[in-house]
Structure formats: C-alpha cells, structure tokens
Symmetry: C2
Subunit: 407 residues, 2 copies
Amino acid sequence: MNFIEGGVCAAQGFRAAGIHVGVKTHASWKKDVALIVSDTDCAAAAVFTRNVVKAAPIHVDLAHLAGGHARAIIANSGNANACAPQGEENAERMCAAAAAAVGCRPEEVLVSSTGVIGQTLNVQVIEEGVPALYGQLARSAAGSDAAAHAIMTTDTVKKEAAVETVIGGKTVRIGGIAKGSGMIHPNMGTMLCFLTTDCAISPAMIKSALLETVQVSFNRISVDGDTSTNDSCIVLANGLAGNPEITEKNGDYAAFAEALKHLCTALAKKMAADGEGAKHLITCTVTGAKDEEQAETIAKSVISSTLTKAAVFGADANWGRVLCAMGYSGAEFDPQRVDVSFASAAGEVAVCAAGRGLSFDEEQAKAVLTEHDVEIRIAMGEGGAGCTCWGCDITYDYIKINGDYRT
Amino acid sequence: MNFIEGGVCAAQGFRAAGIHVGVKTHASWKKDVALIVSDTDCAAAAVFTRNVVKAAPIHVDLAHLAGGHARAIIANSGNANACAPQGEENAERMCAAAAAAVGCRPEEVLVSSTGVIGQTLNVQVIEEGVPALYGQLARSAAGSDAAAHAIMTTDTVKKEAAVETVIGGKTVRIGGIAKGSGMIHPNMGTMLCFLTTDCAISPAMIKSALLETVQVSFNRISVDGDTSTNDSCIVLANGLAGNPEITEKNGDYAAFAEALKHLCTALAKKMAADGEGAKHLITCTVTGAKDEEQAETIAKSVISSTLTKAAVFGADANWGRVLCAMGYSGAEFDPQRVDVSFASAAGEVAVCAAGRGLSFDEEQAKAVLTEHDVEIRIAMGEGGAGCTCWGCDITYDYIKINGDYRT
C-alpha cells in the first residue's frame, strides 16, 4: 500500500471542482462550493454526527442513502444550513441543481454544508453557480485541490490524501478530502470528509468498512470537545478498478478496510494538527492496557484535557495533568502502575513511574515539548492492549478565532 | 435567612488562621497554610473528587472520617500532595502537627492540599510553622480572611460567605471558605471548600445535607471540564447554637439544608466567576424541561462548551453553539421546540425560537453580552422542570495561566 497524489480524483472515474459563488460574503476570493462526480453509479455510505441537533443536509442525505447508491456530492462552506429556515428545502435544491448539471436524479446526489449555524442559506447563488462549477470539473489533482479548498472554513491548510493497493489482482485507489477536526470532538467548523474509490464493493460492505474506519481514525481525534451539528463522512465506490466485487468479509474486504484506515488516519492527523490555532500535534499512545476500550477511553481523555493542551502549548512537562485526565476519564485503572513519558524528535523524557513523579531534566523536557509533533506515552502495566489518539494544543489563537467567528 | 459576615468564623466556637510557611517557594509573601479549629468536637462529613487518581490527603481524610467526627482542618496551597512520594505519610504528619497544637488526636484532624501534582510536599516547613499558625487563630472575620487567602492558588479573589437562620428557635450560622471551581469540572487548581456551623446535627444528617447541597451547587459549575485529584468539600458542625439536635429528615433538617444550599450556591458562583482568566460569569438557565435531569444535563453541557465560552468572551451572540452543545449533551429532546435568549443587566435578546434563528439587533446583543454577568436562557417547551448551572468564559489569560502553571 502506498500513499499517492490526486486526493479525491486519484481513483478512476472521479472528477472534482471547487469555485466561489458567494455563500462566503466576507471573503469573495475564497472558494465556497465543491462538487465531486463519478462517471458511473456508486455504492455509497456515510457516517454522520451523533449530535441530537442535526443540520438539514444530514436529514436529506439519510433519505438519499436509503438505497446505498449515489453519483455525486455537492458541498458548501460559509453556512452550515443548521437550525436555519427552509433548511431541508435548500439542501434539496442544492441536490437538484447538481443533478441537473450531472444528468442524474436528485436522489443520487449527497449534500453537505459547513459554516455558521442558524442563518438562511443563500441557495440561489449556489444554484446560479452550479453550471460554472460543473464546467470546472477536472479528473486531475487540481480538481481535488479546488474541492478541498472549497470546503475549508477556519482550516489553515487543505486536507487531502490518497492510497493505492492491490485487491483481487487489480490496482485499487482510495482518495479523500476533508476539513475540520473529528466526528466525536470536532470544532464547530465541522468535520467533513469525502472519500472516493474505484474499488468494486457492495453498499453493505462499504458501509461496514466505513464504520470500522471512522471508529479508529476520526473518532480518535479531538480539538475542543464540541461535536458539530454537521459532521459527515461520505464514501463513494464506483467499481471501475475491475476487482471482483467485495460482497462479504473476506480477504479482499480486509485489504480494502486496511487501506481505508490508513487513508483516514492520515486525514484525521491532518485535522488534529490543524485544530483551530494549534501549534502542536499531540499524539497520546496508551500501551499495556487491560483492553482496547480502556486504552481508548484514557487516550481520548488525555488529548481532550484543556489543561493538558495548555501545558503542551506552554511546553510545560506538567504530567500531573495527564494523570488527572486519566483519572476522570471514566476508565477504571490502578494509578500505582502507570508510567508516563513525553517524546518527540528531540528525544524522550520519563516523568512518572508507578504513579509517582520522577526527577527529570526540565530543560530537556522543554526541548522535547517545543517540537511540533509531541507524543504522550502512557504505559498502564495492566495488560497487552493499546490505542493511539490525536489532538492539538490550545492557544491564544484558538480563543481569537472562536471569540469572533461569526462577525 | 440572611447573608452575614465572618466566613468560616461566623458560627460560634470556630477559630481560623492562615500564614506563609514556605510551601509556596516562588511567592514568599503569599499565605500557604490554613487552620480551622472548633472549640468542641464536631459532627463531620465530606465529599471528595470522583477522579480515580486521588491525592494523599483524601485517603487520609476518608480514614479519619470513619467515625463522623473531627475537631480541626489543616490545609496547604502550593503543592497538591498527589502522585507524590510519601504522600499519605506527609498528610498524616500535617494532621499530627495540627493535633499537637490543638490538643486533640491526629484522627480528629482533616487535611487538604492544592497546587502542583507529583512533587514531594515540604512537610517540614508546615510542621515548623504550625505553632505560629496556631498562635494566629482568631475568632473574627480576620481569621476567616487569612484562612481563605492561604488556600488560594490561581484564584484572584478569596471566596468566603456565611448565612444565618433560625432552627428549633435558635440562631444557627453556617460559614465557608473556598477556592478553585467545582467538584465535577474544577480547574486543576482544585476546588477546596471548608464549611463550619454551630448547628446541632448528627453525623448522618450532616452528611446527607452535604451530599444534597454539593449536587445542586458545586456540581453545577464548570470552568474547564478538568476534574482535579484533590477536590474536597468538608463540613464541621459543633452544635454550639443549642438547637435540638437534628437526627432525622424533619422540618429542622429541611431548614438547615436550605441554608446550606444558599451558602454553597453563593460560594459556587464566586468560583465560577473567578475561573482562571475569566471575564464573565455565565449562568445557563433551562426551563420547560421534561425533568430536572434533562435540564441539568443540558445546562451543564452549555456552560462547559469551549466554543460557547469563547463566544461569550468575544461578546458574539453565536447561539448556534448553544444549540450544538445542547445537542451533544447526551440528553434527548426535540430541537424544534427550543427557544434561546441572551440576557444581562443590559436587557434580553431572543435569538432562537422553535429551533430556528430569529433576526435580532446585533448591536443590542453585543451590549447584552458585554456585561460581566451573562445569562443564557433556554426554554425546552417539553415540561415543567428546570435547572441553573454556572460557568465562565475562556480567555487569553486562561491559556497564559495554564500554559505555564508549574514554572
């Protein structure tokens, strides 16, 4: 399995585009509508936010996905179309506009939105822009790049990745674009992720692979603990790779799921590293746990701890906050068995052994924590299970970005 | 029932003091050890952190409270005595030193610590300082003031309150000092609260009243979602008011519990308003809920939402974040019935009705949110229950304080 170029256009038979139509009124140079189209019908699946308050596009997508098939995805940034007047009507109008251009039924189009909540979506500018958007569709990396930019809100970099593997003797590609930061703990900017693949796989199996994947990738990152109304991860599989269709959980399924996990983990880490205002990617690796659930509960709690995030921002080896976050995670464990160290490209510093503080070189610890990528390593001493989660530090810029997001 | 002066010395038969002995090495002018002593034996009860990682003083207190009685409380700031070498031994040494000065058994002394985790407590300077501390004990408001200052860490103001009521024909007083910010979601500085009363009440009843009270006061505030290793709320009742001892849940018990709740709600609000770096006290009032549990789950989620806190910091009427936080709270509800408004001394602005955004005057909303005390009012439209929770905004100073707390 290799990482390759091309993002959401890496797989055969997919085209993408992104342009500015005017949903983002304050930044007229920024792209705000993206379109992804497959040449042929796709098996389709999606995972949506667990928030009780769901944006209108999610309700529309749930209906459109009933049969497990789709042809295209249209998405806008600048307005979440959540808690907004005419929400579902406007989401349906986006699908209809895209369908008219693509030449398919509106039910074959999926739709996503991200941006401010509670304001009426200016669907007219989207409808007027769709012909131009369709005209820009490209089968190249440039098409994926434009689409990736068009779904950005407070993101500072586009998130794009693609992988290539061999399944059933055929080269299969999976690519994706994403924005925001996670399915359980995304920032309000919302996590959106659109995945495309030329793998031949049934709707039931693509859904299963997506659920497995989201659990160990996007659900293991956190920026600020706020779960958005719009979080969506959608995958389209058009089968053009020509592999024997995956219709059960066999070896081909495992190979596909593994490739999908690699891809989504890469995208998830990009999201965590680009958390609003973040200066550090924080990786928390728990080993020696009783089971994976315990490891995951603890790792998630540590990367979600505001105080731990602030300590990493300050390059302060305040490991007490790590133990504290483990302690309130809800997981049962014996604090007296816990070892903790901080690690990065600058080395590793052990700070706690068997639940008690070690004396360590503060200067060395500072050097370790000053690196961009910082790892918190926790050894539980209880068993053989483990889990890795990703997050970011909390900074002045986070407050600045979120203190005045709407205006 | 009236609020009165005197804090932890308001009730008959209590003396308090606070001095600097040298636990806080970086700030030699700051008091760091407090002592509270009752003239006579007290019924005693306490509530401690739910964190799996509990500081050493909590283990010691649990043992000392086995019989439901105590005479004194000794507490230090500057070191949490959590995950630290010789933790329980040092906590016991603090009790022994206080007991020697007071003239009671070490088991009659309760102990608390707050400050940095994982470093050995300098118990020797405390032992050496206890005679001077004991010599400073005062029965006046000045004694309570000194003790309140001696338990502060990143607190910017002392937290102190007292109430007076009539129970069984006698004037009963309850007073308290506190620091930090909450039992479920305190900041790492830890919540400590010491309460004293001259009410005659049995150990079982004082414990019951304390549990009821903590649930609706300290457990309804949040600063940053991090639950400390040291959170403790301790109450001593010496019976000197001369009321008939409360030994069952009768009218006198109800009167006492009500007074205790008033006192602790006042202290809890002081904590929330003094959250690290906070510029606003945020009150979230939920009405029209199906039941109190639903109301509390939703109100807590809103005041804990980092994004809502950042919006209040920016005086940005971003009510979508309020609905979003309600939605991921875990409570089931119908978003289409929800009304939201922002209120303060500057007025009230309705921003959402029946789950949809209202057009409102942005300037007026800004004026409302610029006040120090800001209220988020949520009407669920589902029933007759309600709940109020308190929190604070998140600011640049929060990051500054917590980015470099240890050093």
